[in-house]
């Protein structure tokens, strides 16, 4: 999954087509039992959470016990460096765990702010339509006019010096138009339904309609997409760091680890593939969970 997929996985392409989830694989009422994959995904995310919480118990990820060039150590040769050490002799396990913190930061903060800002603007835009909508649309479209990675690159060139926080800020800006369009599309679909017309006809104020009528039916969809966007955010940070313009070196980041070791692929493939595998498993787990949530909510809706 590339960062450039953001739009698709949000279902926010021009024609507003949603990328299907596993949703399609389930018939109404005949819900799939939570399968092995689902439990696996939950378990893996549990491990990530554990890493985030207990990262401090592992060796210091900044320590360079053997400060020379031949510092590499293969996996499984010692404890607690059982994932080996990198070119500076730093414990890979520690760096993976500390990198998990980075990943969780860049996954949650932008998504939360995207939901908040984008969702609110979406509701406003869907309720008022007209000029309000047109103006917000122009800003959203302008942001979406940049291929996402390009926008991030552009921002990372001006948000200086690069750090976890500048990247988080960049990603946050990136998520807003996505959530905006999703919320808007969802709310507009509802505002044509008669219960919204009824509320208007009863003299309900805009705030009441937006938050009591439109929002409850949008939240579930938004949240299930949010899980998938988190995966996209993690990949985005990884990609930036892989390009060497993301989280700068002493700070641990999965993508950065791959970037630093990619030239040693022949000799120390483990140092490249371990962070790759961790990234893959995390993204995969989030996708599995997101797809399932999405299909669940979709099914609920279609039963109405």
């Amino acid at each position: 999954m590339s960062l450039t997929q953001t739009e698709n996985s949000l279902g926010l392409t021009e024609s507003g087509v949603e990328t299907p989830g596993e949703a399609a694989a389930e018939i109404k009422g005949k819900r799939k039992k939570a399968g092995l994959l689902w439990w696996f995904a939950c378990a893996w995310l549990g491990i990530i959470v554990l890493m985030v919480v207990f990262a401090d118990l592992l060796p210091n990820p900044y320590d360079q016990p053997v400060p020379d060039a031949s510092a590499h150590e293969s996996p499984f040769s010692s404890w607690p460096e059982f994932l080996g050490t990198d070119y500076l002799g730093r414990s890979t396990l520690s760096r993976i765990a500390a990198g998990a913190r980075t990943s969780v930061t860049v996954a949650t903060i932008p998504v939360a702010s995207g939901i908040l800002i984008g969702g609110l603007l979406g509701l406003v835009s869907a309720y008022f339509r007209g000029t309000t909508e047109a103006v917000i649309d122009i800003f959203a479209d302008a942001l979406l006019a940049f291929p996402p990675l390009l926008l991030l690159l552009m921002m990372s060139s001006v948000l200086y010096p690069p750090s976890v926080w500048t990247i988080t800020l960049g990603l946050a800006i990136l998520t807003v138009p996505g959530f905006y369009r999703l919320t808007k599309a969802n709310a507009i679909a509802q505002s044509k339904r008669e219960y919204v017309v009824v509320a208007k006809a009863m003299g309900a104020r805009p705030g009441r309609i937006m938050f009591k009528e439109l929002m409850p039916n949008t939240v579930a969809t938004i949240l299930s997409y949010a899980v998938i966007v988190m995966a996209v955010m993690i990949v985005a940070e990884g990609s930036l760091s892989f390009l060497g313009v993301g989280v700068p070196d002493p700070e641990p980041s999965w993508g950065g680890m791959v970037y630093k070791e990619k030239d040693n692929l022949e000799d120390y493939p483990g140092q490249v593939f371990v962070p790759c595998a961790v990234l893959f498993l995390t993204v995969f787990s989030l996708n599995v969970i997101g797809d399932r949530l999405r299909s669940k909510f979709d099914v609920r809706d279609s039963n109405l």
Binding site: E194, V198, A199, M202, R208, E213, P216, N303, L304
Partner: protein
């Protein structure tokens, strides 16, 4: 464009007759709603739709008006325009002495409490994620009713529409059948004690057996609360029992209006006649009494010149193409917009022969 403007230029004369009758009753207090020369136009890609092209109707307190016509005749648009859900292009909607089209936003909001609406599709009319008690309470909450009062009133109203409040309150709409949902929608509308209830095809999507349940319930409500009603339907048979008066709409204009007996027993407009004939009777012996109406309702973007019905009318003559027929009285309270009404002075046979 000439086709569009000619009925409109002709309209003021039509409303003149309208105001003449309105003039008599405006003095008396019992007129609840009077719609005067209402025009509702929409811009759509490719032109302008005259969905409602100059309609005047009047509703007395405690009475029920049936509004009937084929789909696309503008009856639903008229209902929504009365509620100010769309902004009428011109004309006025006077409700209890106040012109709704001239009210401020806040004034309108207060006024809306007194007019409630019931829609065709009960399932889409109820928010799927809210509990029944919250749905029914909505109008009370909006109008600022004290919280302590809301619960009992909601329960009371649910009981009145034939649902057990203990059972339904905590549930959500998808757990109920269409007929039950429509009862909930009626409860929501009636809980605020409105003066006017607008029902937009409330039974069209229900099974016959359930239709009668809902019709009975509405009738009961009318009896117990004295609410006035506008009942929109495409089927003349449905409104017959519930309406005191009926207005038949065709292509954005009213072609016939009168009390129910007059409309059903002696329809004056050929369109009303055709609508009556088209209702299939559950009786193998009954044959249709007239020829089937040809064609379908024309585009409201390009209505025919003169009488809008002339393209499908078996009695149409050259005069119908040139002159817009005005609503005129053929019997006390029975008005029709036709050059050759089926009752009254003109003899339709001649016209038929001429055509």
């Amino acid at each position: 464009m000439t086709a569009e403007t000619s009925p409109e230029t002709g309209e003021p004369t039509g409303s003149a007759t309208g105001t003449a009758t309105a003039g008599d009753t405006a003095v008396s207090d019992d007129v609840l709603l009077s719609v005067n020369d209402l025009v509702q136009r929409f811009r759509v890609p490719g032109g302008v739709v005259n969905a409602v092209a100059g309609v005047s109707v009047e509703l007395k307190r405690g009475r029920t008006l049936g509004l009937v016509g084929e789909s696309g005749c503008g009856k639903s648009t008229l209902a929504r325009a009365i509620l100010q859900l769309t902004t009428p292009t011109s004309g006025s909607v006077v409700f209890d002495g106040q012109d709704l089209t001239k009210l401020s936003k806040d004034g309108l909001r207060t006024m809306r409490r007194r007019i409630q609406m019931v829609f065709q599709d009960p399932i889409s009319a109820l928010n799927p994620r809210r509990k029944i008690k919250d749905i029914v309470a909505e109008g009370l909450v909006i109008s600022g009713t004290p919280t302590a009062e809301i619960g009992p009133r909601v329960a009371d109203m649910l009981r009145k529409v034939g649902l057990d409040p203990d059972f339904v309150s905590e549930r959500r709409p998808h757990q109920f059948s269409g007929g039950q949902c429509q009862r909930i929608a009626i409860a929501r509308a009636m809980v605020v004690n409105p003066d006017l209830l607008i029902c937009d095809e409330p039974v069209a999507s229900l099974d016959v057996s359930v239709q009668a349940q809902v019709l009975d319930l509405l009738d009961e409500m009318k009896g117990s609360t004295g609410v006035s009603m506008i009942f929109v339907a495409h089927d003349l048979a449905v409104v017959r029992n519930i309406s005191d008066e009926v207005a038949v709409m065709y292509l954005g204009t009213i072609c016939e209006t009168g009390d129910t007996a007059a409309i059903y027993d002696s329809p004056a407009h050929p369109y009303t006649r055709a609508l009556l004939d088209a209702v299939p009777a559950p009786d193998p012996g009954a044959s249709h009494s007239g020829p089937a109406l040809k064609g379908e309702i024309p585009s409201p973007m390009r209505p025919p010149s003169g009488c809008r019905f002339r393209t499908r009318c078996p009695l149409a003559t050259d005069r119908c193409a040139e002159e817009v027929p005005q609503l005129r009285e053929v019997a006390p309270g029975h008005r029709v917009a036709c050059h050759f009404p089926l009752v009254g002075d003109d003899v339709p046979k001649e016209a038929a022969a001429a055509g």
